[in-house]
Amino acid sequence: MSKKGKGVRAKERRAGWFFLMPATIMICIMSFWPMIQAFITSFKSGKGAQLSWADPWNFNYSRILQDKIFITSLKNTFLYLIIEVPIMLILAILLAQILNNKDLRFKGLFRTMVFLPCATSLVSYALIFRSLFATQGLINQVLLNLHIISENINWLGTAGTAKAIIIIALIWRWTGYNMVFYLAGLQNIDYQVYEAAKIDGASSWKTFWGITVPLLKPVIVMTFIMSINGTLQLFDESVNLTNGGPANATITMSHYVYNMAFGQGVGHFGYSSAMSFVIFIMVAILAWINMKVGDTRD
């Protein structure tokens, strides 16, 4: 290449760096730097802006282990994770599989309706579910009229049912969202594979486990990571559906961290940062495990 050509290449390379600089700088300032600061703050104690080094240095972290509310929030978050995510993902795959059938009619209409919950904000749907399951709400009225229950149930005021309703609400909101990923994944699979399986006389159950699930595996791993990430950071639902109650029975980790930092008259920035760092470690570990599991496909 001539000297002139080389000069152009160098200019292009510089232009490339110039294009990606604004985003890189913003991510460093707005994500990485705060994360480092949060880690530093997690070794401090005090309130609001008056922070000093904690004594002993691991004070905040040892406090976490003895904090009953944090342990509850941890258990709750994992309960939501373990029950909600598998149910939701299986439902989403089933719906995608059904909607991918060439012979199905009104496909567009069904897809729109299944997808519709995604159009509502998290706060909106949390408040809708809170209203539906209120003690004087519609669900109780319907169950009373059907004589399934004899008096109004305080769904959100009872620990067990309140947790169940958060899970139901989460499934409602996110199944259609995940279905979109699977539908996109299925459309990349040659439909003839299914035709061939049908000719071979494979049942739809067998086709599902034998063809759909293996071929969708990369998408499934990805939705799993996203769901884990999302569930570990649950906030809007805990705040607006149950407000963490009754008596912190349904509180999530993010909600508790928020309350400790910005709740009324608290401002425990050091302790909150320590808890948020623990959440970060958990997200990272679970994502890593997931990626490893996803990689071991033959």
């Binding site: 110039f18 985003a23 707005m30 719906l95 299944v114 948020s276």
Partner: protein
């Protein structure tokens, strides 16, 4: 295929139809109920009325009296549109740079930036709050958008979609004497408009629906967003469900409109970076 065959195929699909109808009902009903409840008074709602009522105007008046509805709608629109424009510009520039000027160093930087995806919002919330308040940006549009204008997800989406951008166009434009920046604005942007549309829809939706960060950074009632407004409606000891659902309806109208008009772009935006 014969008629008989066709009806047999449809008959075999009956369980599928039943499942779809049930799930569609579950999906749609809470939203339908939200709309009808906005037109009923709270007494009728707790009696279990599920059809449209006559209290819409009354609920609307009460909502206006209880909360600064127009101010919050305006705030939400300004924040969301500003975030959408800036985020698209900065992230598409980065996606363009990472894909069309790719080399080893840039790939390594890209992998590093992706790590930011794992950082939970709740972890950066406190340092960001301190930073934004030191810069005097609490309750401002900048305070709202600055942490969100560069996201690994959006950069990845633009990078992945840039793979379809023909390199020949770059070369031709260079021979024509266009500058690299000129290529971005004159060639890249128009060709990538469908990616921009999908990215715009998803960014707007996320910005409109954001809750945790606005709750942290918008300490003044006058700067609050729509999700904060409806959360406030439900914070009292007694809740007027008709008024609450009227608020939820207002909060949902823009996202619903976007959903129904741009559903394809929305779906593309969600799955955007996976290809």
């Amino acid at each position: 295929m014969t008629k008989r065959n066709k009806s047999m195929v449809q008959r075999r699909l009956i369980p599928s139809y039943i499942f779809l109808i049930i799930w569609s009902f579950i999906s749609v009903f809470p939203l339908f109920w939200m709309i009808t409840a906005a037109t009923n008074n709270t007494v009728d709602i707790s009696r279990g009325r599920i059809w449209f009522g006559t209290a819409a105007a009354e609920n609307f008046q009460k909502l206006l009296a209880a909360q600064p509805l127009w101010k919050s709608m305006g705030n939400s629109f300004i924040y969301s549109i500003a975030q959408t424009i800036l985020c698209l510009l900065i992230c598409s520039l980065a996606g363009f740079g990472f894909e069309l000027y790719a080399d080893k160093a840039k790939d390594r930087l890209f992998a590093f930036l992706l790590l930011a995806m794992m950082i939970p919002g709740v972890a950066t919330m406190i340092p960001l709050f301190t930073m934004i308040s030191k810069m005097g940006m609490l309750n401002s549009v900048w305070g709202f958008i600055l942490p969100q204008i560069a996201t690994p997800f959006m950069i990845m989406m633009f990078r992945q979609n840039s793979r379809n951008f023909p390199a020949a166009i770059m070369e031709a434009a260079r021979i024509d004497g266009q500058s690299e920046v000129g290529i971005f604005f004159r060639q890249y942007m128009p060709i990538m408009r469908s990616t921009y549309a999908a990215a715009a829809v998803i960014t707007f939706m996320n910005a409109w629906n954001a809750y945790l960060w606005p709750k942290v950074v918008m300490t003044d009632n006058k700067a609050q967003t729509m999700p904060m407004l409806i959360a406030n409606l439900a914070a009292g000891y007694t809740i007027d469900y008709g008024v609450l659902m009227m608020g939820v309806l207002f909060c949902s109208i823009p996202t619903m409109l976007v959903f129904f008009i741009l559903q394809k772009q929305f779906a593309e935006g969600i799955t955007g970076s996976v290809k």
